[in-house]
Amino acid sequence: MWQPKLSRRRFLKAGAITGALAVGSSLLRQPVGGLAEAAGGVSGSGLATLPAAVAGSEKVIPSLCEMCSAKCGILAYVREGRVVKIEGNPKDPQAAGKLCARGSAGMKTLYDPDRLKSPMKRVGEGKFDPISWDQAFQEIGPKLKELKLQYGPQTLVWAAHPELPAPLEQRFMAAFGSPNYTGHAPTCYSSRSVAYQATYGGVPGVDYQNVRYYIAPGRNLLGGIKNPEVRKIVAARKAGAKIVVLDPRMSELAMWADEWLPIRPGTDGAFMLALMHVIIKEKLYDAEFVAAKTVGFDQLAAKVQEYSPEWAEKITDIPAATITRIARELAQARPAAAVDPCWHAAFGSQYYNSVQGGRAAACLNALLGNLGAKGGLILGSPLKLGDPTGVMGPEPPKPTAPRWDGAGGKEWPLAKGLGMIQTLPLRILEGKPYPIKALIVSHLNPIRSCPDSGKFIQALKQLELVVTIDIQMNDTAYHSHYVLPESTYLERFDPVMAVGPTIVLRQPAVAPLFNTKPEEEIIAGLAQAAGIGQYFNFTLEQYNNALLAPFGITQEQLKAQGQIKVNQKPTAPEPGEESKEFKTPSGKIELASQAIASAGGSPVPVWEPPLVKPQGDKLRLIQGHVPMHTHNTTQNNAYLHALMPENELWIHTQVAARLGIRDGDLVEVTSEVGKVRIKAKVTEAIHPEAVFMAHGFGCSSPYLTRTYNRGASGAALIPILVAPLSGAAAQCETLVTVRKVG
């Protein structure tokens, strides 16, 4: 019998045996009434069950997926009031009729028995009572007023993974008078954004469809999956593009790519500097583009003389000859050649040196002259939606207090708009720069997405009011005073959004199953009770209609197709910006950056080693995404849980042998801030200095029964750090030891 050579699904085999045993005891099986019906099937067709998307008497609702943040258009098939199947909307440019595993599993989130079903009030450690919305608002609102009176409005922080209702969350904070709205950027993309903002005045994307030579520094397009990007990069490769992946681990993209370069973690910047060394030395760059569009070339050229491939080989573990070859191949393919700016990855937020590495990549891209070229980088100008202020009522006054984290202030000018959420527990515990007593969390689970879970929990216990808005009792909700259940994406409208030239609408496929509300109603309820109701005297439909007004359509009209392609003329430049091609101080691409220099960094990219150095049994913990889960939000989804119920610790074969660890052993992983237990995956596919753990597991909330305590959370191990210039959390600057415990 053919057996898979290496499968992660031993549990399925075990399941088959259990199934067969069950058969042994039930050979005289009696017909079991109602089972076909329970499974949604139709009997008597020669097949007991008809598939979901073909059976009759159904509605098909076009809407917008929220199983990740890529915003693919979907078609929800609804039969007898139930969503039975979700497919990609063929008319939607993001989805093109396709959907990933997570999107396909959406109805299992809608019908998850572990969902929040009504507002909950904490009545003891891990204990909650269901309460009415009225009670929730009438208790939370006055408490907010009281805290504002005592400590000032800045005592309230709102932490979010900014989703479509984010502008309404921000309005709530402005109306309350607090500057402390904060996203997840430092745990994701802060350093990348700072690097590209400084160099180009914006963060470009990659023309994946047409790229001919693509380098991914840790970016894992096939792990952190975005449907449109996957479709395009597959098409590009089929058309002959070369895909090169720098990653200490053979990620999904590295496995699929033409070439995987198993780089020493945290040294991607050295690799980029050496590529520039070769490209400048051998005059392989686009001299015309550099002369016309950039400033600081001479400074850059002088600096990268130091960074030869031989120098980089010692740092990166990539042979000098390989570096030279890659530099030549990359330059040969220009301008249809790109180094991915990344999201998370090497230059996103992971290392102390990510800004310098990101700057090196940004400068390298500029040398290739790829900006605006087919197959290069694209600086998009997003569609400008209508102005909703007319329907929203009075404009809130500007908050007067400084932010708690100093982002955008004198010390952290480049972190403006990014924030430093990872420092929140420290500031709460210290009471500095001022007392923070209340926290509202939405679409975010900082206990598992921010560093040092233990510290975060300790800080939450110091607060007088913690409110979490979510669809499930995640770890942070579990430590909150109030949990307010949002309707799932299949049960609610959201603010409309633009994707390229297309406007898309999220709309309900079914009415809310439980006593949940869409977020705009939750925000309005809180505002009313907190004495700032005058800022929320509008409906979401009025708000959406204002956003849609320039295009002559309404929310009601958008419902039928769920999306519409519109035309918009390019907007005139802002006053004072007419002469600037790029939103940088010089108006050019800054190979030598004034913004970085004035924030205290080297104006041209330089090599800075990572903060920590693995030695002996101390290994570097690295982390990343997997294709079947999104962050820490999907692990309780029945289909996705079955695909990947827990994560494993990837550890190199020789390191494992030295530590007496075998594949499948239970190991304890210890860092300076915590320890976790997890199964070991012994593999050749990782750099010996690193161990890898997929992000998103190790749920500590027993309310999520499938995923509770399955696998381990890297957040429990990562110390709170603040990387220079960007304020990023530098999560991969974590050293751990590993020992076998079972």
Binding site: P4, K5, L12, G46, A101, R102, P627, L643
Partner: protein, 233 residues
């Protein structure tokens, strides 16, 4: 069906979209994605291979089925009349590709039907429809003008002989990582001849044999990390 492993990204959308289409239990998967790695650091290669029912030309599952629930349609699709299935699991063990699964709530065996109700409505199978990579092509291989016939020719796809599945191998993995051609295992004939004519007592014994064979397969699995295709049959 043609599965192009130079395109397949291993995202498992096929697995889940199929589950949703057929409203399967989470543990029931008609199509699965296997991952491989081979070589020593830093010279490591890897790849993914999705599998499902191979819709064999002479399906062992149909031959062993005591009730006729497993059958081959005139169009070549191997199907199961779920009303006739008694859940004895002979087929599950007879399948050389491990493609069938036991629905524990309904106590029947189920598997990929190539989504023939969708095909009859002019739609593609769910796995093909959702594949972001465009790695799957479905169609009539007997029609030389069909998209799949052209794709097989263009890509020099490898047929899994005796079945309805073709693969374009991953550039990183050799043929031995693909499922083998269909060769009817000897024990299937033995079963059909010896067990099936017997009564229910014999069937109970056979069910025991299924358990043992599955257990042996599971134990054997640990060693199967390399070698040629024959070694794994």
């Amino acid at each position: 069906m043609l599965i192009d492993l130079s395109k397949c990204v291993g995202c498992e959308a096929c697995t889940v979209n199929c589950q949703a289409e057929w409203q399967l239990e989470p543990e029931e998967q008609f199509t699965k994605v296997h991952r491989y790695e081979t070589g020593k650091f830093p010279q490591v290669k890897g790849g993914v291979v999705p599998t499902q029912c191979f819709h064999c030309h002479q399906p062992p599952c149909v031959e062993v089925c005591p009730t006729g629930a497993s059958y081959k349609r005139p169009d070549g699709i191997v199907a199961i009349d779920e009303d006739k299935c008694i859940g004895c699991c002979y087929c599950l063990s007879a399948c050389p590709y491990g493609a069938r699964c036991f629905d524990s709530s309904r106590r029947i065996v189920r598997k990929c039907y190539f989504c023939y109700p969708r095909i009859e409505q002019g739609k593609e199978p769910a796995c093909v429809n959702t594949c972001m990579a465009g790695a799957r092509t479905f169609g009539d291989v007997d029609d030389p003008t069909s998209a799949i016939s052209k794709a097989i020719k263009e890509t020099k796809a490898v047929p899994i002989r005796g079945t309805s599945i073709f693969y374009v191998p991953s550039p990183h993995l050799d043929r031995s990582f693909l499922p083998p051609d269909l060769k009817e295992p000897g024990f299937v004939r033995w079963w059909k001849g010896v067990i099936q004519p017997g009564g229910k007592a014999v069937m109970a014994a056979a069910a025991g044999a299924v358990v043992v064979s599955l257990a042996i397969n599971t134990i054997n699995k640990g060693g199967g990390t390399g070698g040629d295709a024959d070694a794994r049959k």
